[in-house]
Amino acid sequence: MGHRDRRLGRRMVLPLILLLLAVQGYPMAFAVYISAHDYRLTALSEIRWVGLEQYRGLLGNSSYWTAMKNTLVFVFGAVGLELLLGFLLAYLLWRPVPAQNLFRAILLTPMFVTPIAVGLMFRFLLNNQLGIIPVWLRSLGLEIDWFGPDLALFSLILIDVWQWTPLMVLLLLAGLEALPVEPFEAARVDGASELQIIRHLTIPLIRPVMLAAILIRMLDAFRVFEYVYAITRGGPGERTETILFHIYRVGFLYFRLGEAAAMAITLALVIFVLVVLLFRILRRQEALT
């Protein structure tokens, strides 16, 4: 690339960089700024510098830790189940099926519903007195308290699985269909069983796609808010208080934006660490193959 081309190139990306700075850089920098201040919307005349005090406050804030723990359980539970189910479904669909496109389209529909509507749907579907699911379960002799203290978080995980497994299927299926045919033919000729093929061929081959899918879903799952908001409001007690819901509560109900910003930044750090870990795994895989 010539000198002039490079200069032109730099100038071409300049607008994008400016845009990113304006819409991402500024809010992020401002969040860092207010996280170091006692910044309350109802007392804007009393903003003062507090340094790391708000971060230190989080250490002893049990609600914050509960919310963080709940969120991690939610993310690992939901994404784990979605990966498992998504892979099974994608594997089953990875062959000529009659009315294939229609079938896939139907499978994807949960993704098209807005999450707050999904939350409200399940709030009533799972309602013990008004919902249809408990009625079916009762005819089987089962009585389940979906939003009681033991199951509430798990119920929210199941709702997430219902809505987002299709995305996992979509991504994994695309990955499967892009795989070369030859290794599989060779394996079959050599007499490998179906399970052996999955374990030693399919999974290793689509691992990069899997990791990308996990990453996408994970980032999304950290943002869980709608189901909590529509169904449990964080209850029973704090069993389903997720970190984003907690941040919302502190920031937009109590208007303590400084403290909320400090929480949001710790959350960003947690996510950042997880993403780096995932990328490292991905890179090591690539180096191996």
Binding site: N128, Q129, L130, D145, P149, T232, R233, G235, F255
Partner: protein
């Protein structure tokens, strides 16, 4: 170079024309923008607007209605702006002290004095008091949402239930006036109906809902959140008793697994005929008794009473003028018109929830509205009612107490422990 400059000038010109082109033409008649919630009471105001605009030709009113959860942010953003987006706002009672503390609202005392025959004292005192902070008036009552006990009167009048209750307890079956009676009657309905009709559709959802319902129980047990000196008394024995009875009710007489129930579920349960009583807003009664409403065939069979113990949780919306509103005189013209005795009467006849004593005692309102006994009961409820929490930290107090209460109902903590934890947190919030 030349081309670059011309390009720049063109872009600048486009930007400028875009910026200035969006500006509305100079407003010769004043347009008032009011933020409101999407609820039936807002529809009533909409019906009254043509009259206001006819009587005040220079003023046009635009209502910006939205769901509750969007309102607080928008109102706050309007406060922060150099010029308010909203000329008139409505304020939910937990926000009132906070907004005044933030110096966001215009005091209205002088304006009230300037309106002949306004009769501010005619608003029911507990409702009126919410809008008074310090010694100044910042909010004018719009409508109330005080809690009452809504029951299936047909069940209470049913001879089979009456006889069975008389035989079992040796006294007549009647809507409860004490907590013990309430729990017993609710248990009775569940047993007697073979589990088909639950005694009470409760709302133990974490946060606002559970506190709003349970605080009626707390009042009935003789307790409160704070004493007269403002000290936290949430961990006193009365409160423990109120919570233990509430939990007993949940476990023995409410629909099973209803720990996350809020307003909607309780209403549906009542409307579907699956519950005999619920504590809810007094104006849910006309909704339930409306043949076109959610209860269908059961319409007409519901009745409203005071909650057991007689003292109720009070909720109310108030009209207020933001300090940074540009047309305060026009804003006040609207507020003083819509809250005047004359318009309050029309508003209540159209189905709005009353706040003026005169409207609730008006035979014309009884006749054209929902009947004498309804308005008399509402007045009784309002006269002895108190908001969930006051002060600039009300919202946070409500949330932390509502979390502990919900944990106790879920069996995560004992009633005593939950209240001790709640009291400790409220003390911390209040800096005690």
């Amino acid at each position: 170079m030349f081309r670059r400059v011309t390009g720049f000038v063109i872009v600048l010109g486009m930007l400028a024309s875009w910026l200035f082109g969006c500006r509305p033409a100079a407003p010769s008649p004043v347009t008032l923008t009011i933020i409101m919630e999407q609820v039936p009471d807002t529809d009533v105001i909409r019906k009254l607007l043509p009259d206001f605009e006819k009587e005040n030709p220079g003023i046009k009113v635009v209502i910006d209605a939205m769901p509750y959860d969007a309102m607080r942010d928008k109102i706050l953003a309007s406060f922060m702006a150099p010029k308010a987006t909203y000329d008139v706002i409505i304020v939910d009672n937990p926000w009132m002290d906070e907004f005044v503390a933030g110096n966001f609202l215009e005091p209205l005392d002088d304006r009230i004095r300037g309106v002949p025959d306004y009769d501010f004292e005619d608003f029911v005192k507990p409702v009126r008091d919410i809008g008074v902070v310090g010694s100044k008036i910042y909010g004018i009552p719009f409508y109330n949402y005080a809690v009452g006990l809504i029951v299936r009167q047909d069940l209470f009048d049913d001879p089979a239930y009456r006889d069975a209750y008389q035989k079992k307890y040796g006294k007549p079956l009647a809507p409860p006036t004490t907590l013990e009676d309430y729990v017993r009657i609710a248990q009775f309905f569940k047993e007697q109906s073979g589990g088909k009709i639950y005694g009470a559709a409760m709302q133990p959802q974490r946060g606002y809902k559970v506190f709003e319902e349970w605080k009626n129980w707390l009042y009935a047990a003789g307790g409160n959140l704070l004493d007269d000196q403002g000290k936290v008394i949430l961990d006193r024995p009365e409160a423990v008793r109120a919570l233990e009875l509430y939990i007993e009710m949940y476990k023995t007489a409410a629909p099973p697994n209803s720990l996350n129930w809020g307003f909607d579920e309780a209403l549906r349960s009542m409307a579907a005929g699956e519950a005999a009583t619920m504590m809810s807003y007094n104006w849910m009664l006309p909704t339930l008794n409306n043949p076109q409403g959610p209860a269908g065939n059961l319409a007409g069979k519901f009745a409203l009473y005071e909650v057991p113990g007689g003292k109720a949780v009070l909720g109310a919306w108030h009209w207020a003028i933001p300090r940074n509103a540009p047309n305060k005189d026009a804003s006040w013209r609207f507020i003083s018109w819509v809250t005047s005795k004359r318009i309050e009467k029309q508003r209540v006849i159209l189905g709005g929830a009353p706040v003026r004593v005169s409207a609730m005692k008006d035979p014309e309102v009884w006749q054209k509205g929902f009947g004498q006994s309804y308005y008399e009961t509402v007045l009784k409820i309002l006269e002895d009612a108190e908001p969930l929490a006051r002060g600039p930290k009300a919202e946070e107090i409500i949330q932390v107490v509502g979390t502990e209460l919900n944990a106790a109902v879920a069996g995560e903590k004992t009633a005593e422990q939950a209240l001790r934890d709640a009291a400790a947190q409220v003390r911390r919030i209040l800096g005690q």
